[in-house]
Symmetry: C2
Subunit: 112 residues, 2 copies
């Protein structure tokens, strides 16, 4: 029961990270907040494998274009995603692998 949660997690749970100060805790909760809304999580999952334009994301996650756009802005401000223009379209993709790491950690947890 103690020790590592599973073989895939290695020694991560035992990392001796300094307990974060007040400011860091807010930063941290803001980060997790991004993953804590199903609509945002769906969007992140949609662009997990490859970049997609807003329209593709909209149909994938079954939300209105406006709602998607608003959430994309939030995710971008949090630096979890990035975008580039290609003609009329704007393509969105994950900023870096941290998103995948955190996402997969959550998956491992609920699938234990």
């Amino acid at each position: 029961m103690s020790g590592n949660c599973c073989s895939k997690c290695g020694k991560i749970s035992q990392l001796k990270t300094k307990m974060p100060d007040e400011a860091q805790l807010y930063e941290l909760s803001d980060l997790f907040k991004m993953f804590g809304e199903s609509s945002r999580l769906k969007i992140l999952a949609a662009i997990f494998e490859k970049e997609l334009c807003v329209h593709e994301i909209t149909t994938t996650v079954a939300m209105t274009q406006s709602a998607v756009s608003h959430q994309l802005r939030v995710l971008k401000q949090a630096r979890l995603i990035k975008s580039r223009r290609d003609g009329k379209m704007i393509l969105y993709s994950l900023s870096d692998d941290h998103v995948k790491v955190i996402f997969n950690m959550g998956l491992l947890h609920i699938n234990e």
Copy 2:
């Protein structure tokens, strides 16, 4: 930039987990939601090292006893923490190491 986010994360970002279905995504966002509120995150951080009674948590996180109790209930329902009675007091601790893993993953991200 691609590949692993950092040495500590190993191959986690490359895990070939099946894209979660609708139900799993809700489960996942509910999980992250627990970490996405600073008051809850403070409580989790407070009992990171050792179990604490409600009163100790209350003074550590600087919240009212009632607010702490309400959040403890939420965290317990999410199975992130467990409790045991010792006399008048009830001691709370983390359910398992998943909490630490996810917490530390977030820390690694914001400290990159």
